[in-house]
Symmetry: D2
Subunit: 374 residues, 4 copies
């Protein structure tokens, strides 16, 4: 009922504020026996970490994760996995001046109205720094999926402002993505994007864009109609990421411009497996994964914090002018890639487990199970 | 964990198959004292009902709702409200031929793989007929919102295929929407859309499009970060509707083409109320409603059932040709409008109640409450 | 969040009032492929039905169940199973005189305070008639358990007032229980109990007692520490039944009188299976089923409705005298047996499914699964 | 779905193993504005702490709590409150010898069967040390209840082995309870209990008993029928505590020995408030708090770890003899008192918030709310 948990079977509970002592997460429901160590999680946190390149904020955080429970002798035990990351470079004083002002595009006003109290230190719980928890939990989900199904989840920057990459979703590799600071697998577009981001930064402005993602090795059958469809839970997870404004799967908004005869993906038989010859559906049919790659895109607005002067009001309703100092990303897209991937992995891990509830009763009737008590 | 419930506080559990005896829903969590009768629900069901115009399927269903619990002397009691609608014009035999074929774009294949069994009668639980339950439950939510806050939720057809209406979201009225069979408030565009739908039908083809929606009178403070943000739950609800492929709120995907200095909505003081001078955010900031109108759009793919011949495979993997007969909509958009509205109302009602959990503790500290036991 | 749902994986949502049009329930999460028809459910409802014997209320209800979804060709489909029973012999007028009085021991006062409105017709939603839903849903759970594990759940009347049966829990059979109207497998005690109940009835009084229950064939491993322990969820389910005041498992309150050296059940090896030589634990260790029979007891208070004159107050606070007419059971114990069994089956079915979440990851590591997408 | 969360609105997620680095808990859903600091939590942890007296284990743990999020300037913010306690005196090596043996009465066998892996270090997650989390979270709930309603929750040791205190539940004060190491408010009985516990310890044996609890200042209306009745959720919470075997409320099992005419609590008018002249109901009617004090009891089995020699089997099924060394409590009752109180407070806080969902719609219709957006 409160909002800091995600998932039902693979259940994540996140906590922490941007400039509090730490950010953390508890993963409950991870099955026992999964090999897991801190390096698995650190690898993903390093991709989200601030200060990776000149394109990101200068806040210096090593973001070292500690696993505090749920792992024994290098394997998960089936019990809650608690992880946390200390905030080292918190500078709460940077924000004192902002405690009486509603920053445009930020949650200052809505948090204050909702809770009657607001932690102004870097936005407190409304800061994108809370996604440290998402990425840490997502690393566990990613490991589970990789181990069971060989699942690979690859995100990339598809567009920055009005610059689009020329990309075939199913072919993108992580290597191509990590090859440049923008995380766009089209190197030529990546260069233009980087230039634009630097220019926006220099001008005290910011830019948004679109992250694309393709998940290979998704088992058939994930998703729980009529409400917990796979694409529904994916959409929720993506719109829960800070600064997102849209989600589309497969053909998305563009698909609505086609005729049905153009849009339907024909089924075919590929070596005994039922597949489709195209993938406008994006890997789901009727809310359930089809075995084709999941392909989706997420829109991010331009960073709300900008150096340019803006008009706004303060908490007493007076009109004021604001020009941000502090440390921030002129474009969140490069660091958003691992966050999008993490959220996708969390949704998939949850649905993998939920699908198991149909258990032996799935395609195979309801036979007696081994280990029964009678 | 199973997928037929939506919401936490205003909780909906849906049941029923397209060609089974009935479709129904249980609404648990509606507060007591709300005036409610069957006419409130019937009004919305009539807008979703098949056979309203020449643009929809010819299946003849009166869709008369019965309320079977939770209402006493014309008011809700605080207990579960059970509602059901009989299926009258079910023709299960129409579908016998299809029980061995995977229809392209439909859930036949994924349902069969997931559950090991499939009800081929009109798609069973994968049919859009299940949205009778969504609309019935949504009518209760709509009444609650209207009564408490004067909330008005207005959806419309924004686009069909490549034909877009010229529409200002905040100004659309239900009267304009209901003025034509397409439910597009731009009458000139509506006419061209109707023509296109008739043409697609004549050619055995289908078209998709985009539904827009604007909710007025949303109280400030709804949404539960960090995961159950208002736009996240809206996105989920919309992607849970049959045939949807995308969701965007406020500036959406187009907003990602702007600079931050262009995108941020400046705050201003309007007669003592904090408002924004523009609404690119679409009514939410940081996952919480800002008091500005909620504005969002939902993409629908073209109807998967088409009369044109299509290639597919049957359950034994053989290649076959399919040409649908049966009864279906060449374009679901006009009937999708009340479904989108219903889902939005369900999400909002849930968040109105969840916000109450902060209770007296919200903006006003934690005072003693009246009626305490000590 | 509202209170009419039970279970997470095998999820039950109940609805209906004592003198409304019907009582119903939706079971969501039952795996597909389970053989199920109305007779399976009716059999259990017939054991709960009023008017079975002279010991029960004279309200005449056939309690015929209808299954309205989720079953196709005699097997569950994996989708919600909606069931309902019409109320035929409702006599709402019998209760008009009571609408202004708080009946001692009943929920009239608390319902009115909680909801601000009360349905006085037989107690509305506070009536034990709502357990029709529990028994109907429990019948599905029972079938699932029987089919998968050969589970047998046998309840009985252990005590009425101060008359106790001489009973060995593990040896009771359903045949012995159903052999008399009291449902006490000790025939001599049953006779004295029946006599006492008739006497209480004649005197306008009522009696309570204790129901015992033993479940054979419970697979090892059910229960989810640290909060959703098997005995915790059983305790909850039992205290959710109308008129219950206590729950104990295994040695229960009496076990607290022993020394540890007397109480511990020694482990032993029985043909390669680890078992205990005694069962003071009652079938659970650390919140998880051990493979030994589950043995527990539930205390029921004497029926609150009595013919004798009682002092109480009315809704305006005036002191009044009350002497019930209407129809009621002088002792709920005999009809409580199938309700206790049903609730136990619901808890077990939920935990059977939840245990599956550990899946292939349980005792056997996390291997690749068949049917994976890669 | 996994089992380490409790509550829906006031939601607790616990983590940690007995001999891992730490034990912790996340409280999500605590309303903002509640004054809270570490001393509030420490006070309760100190009552649960090992080594308080000669009657408890000699494990030396200061159990210092750290609050890591959700509190700002000494008040809760409405965001998750993360708390943790380091394990200082862990001695994992003490348990190496036990890793191949199933200790009678313990969860070694069931954990191993359920998870396929077991952390033998002090029982890992099955240890009662995990209740550090319960007590820490309960301290927050207690503060919320005290602040809003003046609620006082007082538990005590009612019985140890066969020695019962002479106690009137409604009159017990915390001062009387804390006056001796046994936490029995009957000083004479306390002395005999202490003597017995010392004797049991000396003999390498253990004893169980019964904890009683009375909660004053419970507002009327808490509890959500038909399943989430207040006593049902209390029963669950109590049976989730390690070593518990029974729960009863009000008259409990003894009440089942009375006639209805003896058992019903008559209503009366006390200065304009509806009260009952007796409290055999124990503070609940129909699953909802009546405004009378909550009175309940919980049975604890004798500690399973004993020094006396016991027969058991090892993991390969061979018969072995076991005599515990290590550190343990010969009687858990004195330290169980704050745990029982904590769990009661968690259940009540959850139901206080859930009751708010009926909101303005409760006894007062559904009026427009202040701060609405229209």
């Amino acid at each position: 009922m409160p909002g800091s948990s995600l998932g039902h079977a693979f259940r994540v509970t996140a906590w922490g504020e941007s400039h509090g002592p730490a950010i953390g997460v508890v993963v409950d429901g991870c099955p026992p026996g999964l090999p897991l160590d801190e390096a698995d999680v650190q690898r993903e946190l390093d991709r989200r970490r601030p200060g990776q390149s000149q394109l990101t904020t200068t806040r210096a955080e090593a973001d070292r994760v500690r696993i505090e429970s749920g792992v024994y002798h290098g394997h998960t035990t089936g019990h809650p996995i608690a992880m946390s990351v200390r905030n080292r470079d918190a500078r709460p004083r940077d924000y004192e001046a902002l405690s009486q002002v509603y920053r445009p595009g930020h949650a200052d006003f809505t948090f204050e109205r909702k809770y009657g109290v607001r932690d102004p230190r870097g936005g407190g719980r409304s800061s994108a720094r809370v996604t440290v928890a998402h990425v840490a939990a997502g690393a566990v989900a990613r490991k589970l999926l990789a181990k069971r199904f060989g699942t690979r989840c690859v995100g990339w920057v598809q567009r920055v402002w009005q610059i689009s990459g020329d990309i075939v979703p199913e072919r993108v590799t992580r290597g191509e993505v990590e090859a440049n600071a923008v995380r766009c697998p089209d190197p030529e577009a990546a260069e233009r994007m980087a230039e634009l981001i630097r220019k926006a930064k220099a001008e005290g402005d910011s830019v948004g864009g679109v992250v694309g993602c393709c998940v290979h090795g998704v088992p058939t059958g994930l998703g729980e109609p009529v409400f917990d469809k796979l694409e529904a839970d994916l959409a929720k997870a993506m719109l829960a990421i800070n600064a997102t404004k849209g989600f589309e799967i497969g053909s998305g908004f563009a698909g609505a411009r086609l005729f049905g005869s153009e849009h339907n993906d024909p089924f075919t038989n590929v070596g005994g497996e039922v597949r489709t010859t195209s993938n406008r559906a994006g890997g789901v049919l009727g809310g359930i994964s089809s075995g084709m790659p999941l392909v989706f895109r997420v829109a991010f607005k331009p960073t709300s914090t900008i150096g340019k002067r803006q008009r706004t009001v303060n908490t007493t309703g007076d009109s004021v002018t604001l020009a941000a100092k502090g440390r921030h990303d002129p474009c969140v897209l490069p660091r958003a890639v691992p966050i999008v991937e993490a959220m996708a992995c969390l949704v998939l891990a949850d649905h993998v487990l939920r699908h198991q509830l149909l258990g032996a009763g799935g395609a195979r009737g309801v036979p007696a199970e081994p280990g029964s008590g009678s």
